[in-house]
C-alpha cells in the first residue's frame, strides 16, 4: 500500500459546509477502554495529519495488562496527537479536545483538558454499570465539574449500530466499530482527509468485507454527524507545516530504530543480526525486523536476554553486525555479556528502550533512569560509548551513528531510547541512502607468513583489527581474561593490566574525536538547559518559549552521554546556571557534576510520563 499524497488541496473536496477557522495547532487526546481501539484511532489521526503536511507528535499511553477489566480505570488506554502548521517537538501539554469513550476514561483524563476545550463523550457508556466499573458514586457529568468545558455528548454506540445495520454484523461486532465513528467526527472537526483511513480499512479487513464495510460506514456516519449536529459552530483548519523540503512519512520510534539498523547494515556492507528476548517496550523492534528477511536481516528470539546478547557477540566475532535490544530488566541480565564484549573489543550494539523502574516497575510507562546502569552496570572498569535518541525519527540516525562508532572503535555501544520515543510518532524525512556516508569497515586480509596473528595491535584510535573466522592465517583466540596488548595472549602482568585498563578507557574517550560537538540554540549566556534523550522536544520548546518571554536561555542537547562531546566543558562555563531536566532523579546531572563540578540544577520527574512544556517553562522562568 503505497500512496504519495503531495497535495493538501485534495482536502478541499472533503471540506465542511460549516465555517472554517484556521488555527496553528491542536492537541487531541483519545481515551477509552483498552478494547475500544484507541491506539488504532490515534495512529490514524496521526497518519492523516502527517499526510496533510502537518508536523505531528504523539504520545500513546496504555495499561500493562493485555485486557484490563473492561470499563475500569486500570483499563483506560489513551493516545494523544499534536498536529500543527509549525514545527513542533512534543505531543502537547494542555488538550484542545478530549474524546472519552467511557466514564473511567473521562475521570482519569479530564484534568488535562484546557478550559473551554472540547470534551466529546460517548453518552451511551454512562449507565450505572459503567459508573460502577469506574468506581464512581456519581455521574461525573452531574454537578459543576464539566462546566469549564465545551461538552458534546454523542450517543456513539447507538449511532454506530444504526449506521452499520444491514452489514450482517452482530451487536458486539457493531459496537467495535464505534471508534471509527469517533474517528469520523474528529476528522470532520479538524478537516482531516479520511481517504487514507478508508484505504487502511480496506487493507486491514481484506478478508472480512462485512467488517470493512461497517467500519467505513461508521467513519462516514461520524463525519456526517459533525456536519449535521448543532453542537459545532465551525470546523478547524491546520495548515501544512513548513518542514524542510523532502518526502516524508510518519514513523514510530521503534520502527525508525529498526530501519536505522537496516540502513547501518547496508552502509557498512553487513547483514544485520538481532538477538532479543521479548520485553515491553522493546519487542516491537524485534517484531519489525523479523519481517525483513529479504533484506538479509536475521532475528533470533533467544531463550533469555543473556543468550540474546551472547548470540550477538558470537555474530560480531564472526564478522557480522551483532545487535541486541531489550529494556531495563533485560539489560540488567546482559551486563556480564556486555563486560565480555568490552574485553573482547568487538563491535556490538545494545539497545535499551527504557521503561519505568526499578525492577519490573511500570512496564508500559516511560523513564530515563537507566543511564547510570549503562555507564557503570558492569563489574570492573568496563567503559563503553553511550548514545541516546531524542525523538522517534531520530532513532534512525542514532542507530547508524552508534554502529559507526562501534565498528570504528571495536567496542560495544549502548543506545538508549525510551517508551515515549518508542511508541511515539512523528514525520520523518526519508533520506537518500546513497548520500549517507558509508561506514567503512576493514577486515584484515589473509596472511600466509605463518606468524601468529596479533589481534590487539592498535590503530591511531586504539582500535584493534576485526579479523574474521574463515580468513586463513589469522587464527586467534580471545576471551574474558585480561590479555596482553598486541598479542592478545592471557596476561596476569600487573603493568599490562594497568595499560589495558587505561587503553580501553582511552579508546572510548577517543570517540569524542569522532562525534559532533554539542550545539547550543538560543542565548549563549544566562541559563543553559541541558537535555538528553526523549526530553529533547519539550526542553527545546520550553527554551523557545522562555526566550519569547524575554529570558536569556540557551539549550544544548547531548546525543552522546559517553564520552561527552569535546566542547561540552567549555560551553557549560559560559552560563551562570545550568538546568538539567530528566525523567529520573538526576543521572546526567550526576555525571556532569562529577566531571565538571558545575553544581547543575536538576528538574526531575519520575512519574512514568514525559515532561510537559509548561512544567519546564515554569522552572526556567523561576531560574532565568
Amino acid at each position: 500500500m503505497s500512496s504519495t499524497s503531495t497535495s493538501p488541496e485534495l482536502m478541499e473536496f472533503l471540506d465542511s459546509s460549516k465555517p472554517r477557522q484556521a488555527i496553528s495547532g491542536v492537541t487531541v487526546r483519545l481515551v477509552g477502554d483498552s478494547g475500544d481501539g484507541m491506539q488504532l484511532l490515534g495512529t490514524q489521526l496521526t497518519n492523516v495529519s502527517a499526510l496533510a503536511g502537518n508536523d505531528v507528535a504523539t504520545f500513546p499511553d496504555f495499561p500493562a495488562e493485555i485486557r484490563a477489566p473492561r470499563g475500569t480505570r486500570a483499563g483506560v488506554s489513551g493516545y494523544q496527537v499534536h498536529f500543527a502548521s509549525e514545527e513542533i517537538f512534543t505531543p502537547g501539554d494542555g488538550l484542545d479536545a478530549l474524546v472519552a469513550m467511557n466514564p473511567a476514561a473521562l475521570v482519569t483524563n479530564i484534568g488535562d483538558l484546557k478550559p473551554a476545550g472540547y470534551l466529546i463523550l460517548n453518552r451511551d457508556s454512562f449507565d450505572a454499570k459503567d459508573l460502577k466499573l469506574a468506581k464512581l458514586d456519581q455521574d461525573p457529568r452531574q454537578g459543576d465539574r464539566l462546566k469549564p468545558y465545551h461538552v458534546i455528548e454523542v450517543p456513539m454506540t447507538t449511532l454506530t449500530r444504526t449506521a452499520v445495520e444491514g452489514t450482517g454484523l452482530s451487536v458486539k461486532e457493531a459496537d467495535q466499530c464505534k471508534n471509527f465513528f469517533a474517528m469520523g467526527l474528529v476528522f470532520w472537526l479538524y478537516g482531516r482527509d479520511y481517504r487514507p483511513t478508508l484505504r487502511f480499512i480496506e487493507a486491514k479487513f481484506k478478508h472480512l468485507p462485512a467488517v470493512a464495510e461497517a467500519n467505513r460506514r461508521a467513519l462516514t456516519a461520524g463525519w456526517n454527524y459533525g456536519e449535521t449536529t448543532e453542537h459545532f459552530a465551525s470546523t478547524y483548519q491546520v495548515a501544512p507545516a513548513r518542514l524542510q523540503l523532502g518526502t516524508y512519512k510518519n514513523v514510530m520510534g521503534n520502527q525508525a530504530l529498526a530501519w536505522g539498523l537496516m540502513a547501518a547494515a547496508e552502509l557498512s556492507g553487513k547483514e544485520l543480526f538481532v538477538g532479543a528476548y521479548p520485553i515491553t517496550p522493546a519487542s516491537d523492534v524485534l517484531h519489525e525486523l523479523s519481517r525483513y528477511k529479504h533484506f538479509g536481516v536475521r532475528t533470533f528470539q533467544a531463550e533469555d536476554e543473556i543468550a540474546a546478547v551472547c548470540s550477538a557477540i558470537g555474530v560480531s566475532f564472526g564478522g557480522g553486525m551483532g545487535v541486541t535490544v531489550s529494556s531495563g530488566p533485560g539489560i540488567a541480565l546482559k551486563t556480564e555479556g556486555m563486560g565480555l564484549a568490552v574485553m573482547l573489543e568487538l563491535p556490538l550494539l545494545v539497545l535499551n528502550i527504557q521503561r519505568g523502574g526499578p525492577s519490573t516497575g511500570l512496564p508500559t510507562k516511560t523513564e530515563q533512569a537507566d543511564l547510570l546502569m549503562a555507564m557503570f552496570g558492569r563489574n570492573g572498569e568496563a567503559p563503553l560509548p553511550i548514545i541516546a535518541a531524542r525523538s522517534p525519527a531520530d532513532c534512525f540516525d542514532a542507530a547508524i551513528e552508534a554502529w559507526r562508532i562501534a565498528t570504528r572503535l571495536m567496542t560495544p555501544v549502548v543506545l538508549l531510547s525510551d517508551g515515549y520515543i518508542a511508541n511515539g510518532a512523528e514525520p520523518w524525512r526519508i533520506p537518500d541512502l546513497s548520500k549517507l556516508p558509508k561506514i567503512e569497515i576493514r577486515h584484515p586480509a589473509a596472511q600466509s607468513s605463518g606468524e601468529p596473528f596479533r589481534p590487539y595491535l592498535r590503530d591511531e584510535y586504539l582500535s584493534r583489527p576485526w579479523a574474521v573466522p574463515g580468513t586463513s592465517g589469522l587464527m586467534h583466540r580471545i576471551g574474558g581474561l585480561e590479555k596482553e596488548d598486541v598479542t592478545g595472549n592471557i596476561s596476569y602482568d600487573p603493568k599490562n593490566h594497568q595499560h589495558m585498563v587505561n587503553t580501553r578507557a582511552q579508546k572510548v574517550a577517543n570517540a569524542s574525536q569522532l562525534i559532533d560537538p554539542v550545539q547550543v540554540t538560543g542565548d549563549d549566556s544566562g541559563l543553559l538547559v541541558l537535555s538528553w534523550g526523549g526530553t529533547y522536544g519539550a526542553c527545546y520548546t520550553a527554551t523557545v518559549r522562555a526566550r519569547a518571554q524575554g529570558k536569556r536561555v540557551g539549550h544544548a542537547h547531548l546525543r552522546w552521554l559517553n564520552p561527552f562531546p569535546a566542547n561540552l566543558g567549555e560551553i557549560l562555563k559560559r552560563y551562570q546556571r545550568v538546568l538539567i531536566p530528566e525523567l529520573n532523579t538526576g543521572q546526567l546531572r550526576f555525571l556532569i557534576d562529577a566531571k565538571f563540578r558545575t553544581g547543575a540544577i536538576g528538574l526531575n520527574k519520575v512519574q512514568g510520563k514525559p515532561f510537559t512544556v509548561s512544567e519546564l517553562v515554569d522552572e526556567i522562568l523561576r531560574l532565568a
Binding site: T4, K249, H294, A302, E303, C310, G320, M475, H476
Partner: protein, 337 residues
C-alpha cells in the same frame, strides 16, 4: 597454483600456547584425540572455531590453532548459535564442563539441543568444579563430600544424556577420556553429524575428583562396567559373556550362557524414530548396570542454521532481494516542496 588440499596434521591444529592443565588431567587426552581427528575432516584450521565457557575444560580453545572464543560461564552455546546462524559454513565446536553446561548453562544447553544448530558440543564431565577448586557439580553423586558439601551433597544428580534426549537432541554420545580409540571415533562421528552433536566425555580430574570414573576406565573392570553401543547390534558386554535383555521397561543383565542367546537381547537402534530406547539406555548407570558408551542416538532433522538461512532465501524469492531505498520510500508519504 595448485588446487590440491594441503595434507593437514595434528601440528596444524596446535597453537603456540603452553597447555596449563594439571599434569595427569584427563583434558590432555581429549585434546590429543581432538587434534588427531581435526586434520581428517578436510576443514582447515581457519574455518574451524572453538567456543567455550569457563572452567578448566574451557581453556581448551587456547590450545588449538583455530579461531577461538573463551567466553563466559555457561553461555558458550549462545555465542555459538549466533555465530553459526550467520556463518553456517564454519565448523563450530563448543567445549564445556559439567558445571558450565549443566549448572549455570543448563538452559542454553537444552535450547541448543532443541534447535539442533549444526555444531558439536563436547562436555568434559569430571563430576566436579575443577577451576574453582573442588565443589560438587550437577553430575556429582548424592552424598558427595566436597568443599561446599562437607556432610555430603543433597542434590540428586542430573543425567546429561537423559537431559539432552529430552531436549530433542539429534545426536547423543558418550565416551571416556582414556579410551582413546573409542573417543576418537565418537568425536569423528560427532563432527560428521549434521545438527547438534552432543558428546559426554568421562574426564578424570586427578586433583579434585581423582578416580571418579575408574570403573569405566580401568582396564581390569571397564569391560564389566561399560557396554559399547553399536547400531543394529545386541547389547553385549563383559567380553561377550553378558548382555542386556528387556524386562518390561526395565533392562536386566543376563549371562550369555547358552540358555539366553544374543537374539534375546536388546538391540541398539541409534536411528529409532522415538528417543525412548536411547532414554532407556541413558538410565543404565553403574553400579546397577554397565554404562553404555558410544552413540545413543543419531537422527536427522533440519538444522537451525539451515532453516534460518533458508527462510532468508525464501523471503528473497518471494519478495525479491530487499531494496532499502525503495522500502523506506514506500507507504503513506507526502512531499514538502
Amino acid at each position: 597454483m595448485s588446487t590440491d588440499l594441503p595434507v593437514l596434521t595434528a601440528n596444524d591444529f596446535t597453537s603456540d600456547q603452553d597447555v596449563r592443565w594439571c599434569p595427569g588431567c584427563g583434558d590432555y587426552s581429549i585434546l590429543a584425540q581432538m587434534k588427531k581427528i581435526l586434520p581428517t575432516l578436510g576443514i582447515p584450521p581457519h574455518q574451524t572455531v572453538f567456543i567455550s565457557g569457563i572452567g578448566c575444560s574451557s581453556r581448551f580453545p587456547y590450545y588449538v590453532n583455530t579461531y577461538g572464543l573463551h567466553s563466559i560461564h555457561g553461555r558458550a552455546p549462545a555465542f555459538a548459535t549466533g555465530l553459526k546462524m550467520t556463518r553456517p559454513e564454519l565448523s563450530v565446536w563448543v567445549i564445556t564442563g559439567d558445571g558450565d553446561a549443566l549448572s549455570i548453562g543448563g538452559n542454553h544447553f537444552i535450547h541448543l539441543m532443541r534447535r539442533n544448530v549444526d555444531l558439536n558440543i563436547i562436555l568434559f564431565n569430571n563430576s566436579i568444579y575443577g577451576l574453582t577448586k573442588g565443589q560438587y557439580s550437577p553430575t556429582s553423586p548424592l552424598g558427595k563430600v566436597t568443599k561446599s558439601t562437607p556432610m555430603g551433597s543433597l542434590d540428586f544428580p542430573l543425567n546429561p544424556i537423559s537431559v539432552a534426549l529430552a531436549a530433542e537432541a539429534t545426536f547423543v554420545a558418550r565416551s571416556v577420556d582414556t579410551n582413546i580409540k573409542h573417543l576418537g571415533e565418537v568425536l569423528l562421528r560427532a563432527a560428521r553429524h549434521k545438527g547438534t552433536s552432543f558428546v559426554e566425555v568421562y574426564q578424570n580430574c586427578n586433583v579434585f575428583n581423582d578416580g571418579a570414573w575408574d570403573y569405566a576406565k580401568d582396564k581390569a573392570v571397564r569391560e564389566e562396567n561399560t557396554i559399547e553401543l553399536e547400531h543394529g547390534k545386541p547389547l553385549v558386554f563383559a567380553g561377550g559373556k553378558k548382555g542386556i535383555r528387556l524386562n518390561g521397561f526395565e533392562p536386566e543383565i543376563v549371562n550369555l550362557d547358552g540358555r539366553v542367546s544374543q537374539d534375546d537381547l536388546l538391540f541398539h537402534d541409534e536411528r529409532a524414530h522415538s528417543p525412548t530406547l536411547a532414554y532407556l539406555l541413558s538410565r543404565m548407570r553403574y553400579p546397577e548396570f554397565p554404562e553404555p558408551i558410544g552413540v545413543f542416538r543419531a537422527v536427522e532433522r533440519p538444522t537451525y542454521d539451515y532453516l534460518v538461512n533458508h527462510q532468508i532465501e525464501q523471503a528473497r524469492v518471494q519478495r525479491g532481494v530487499g531494496d532499502l531505498q525503495k522500502f523506506l520510500a514506500a507507504g503513506d508519504t507526502w512531499t514538502v516542496t
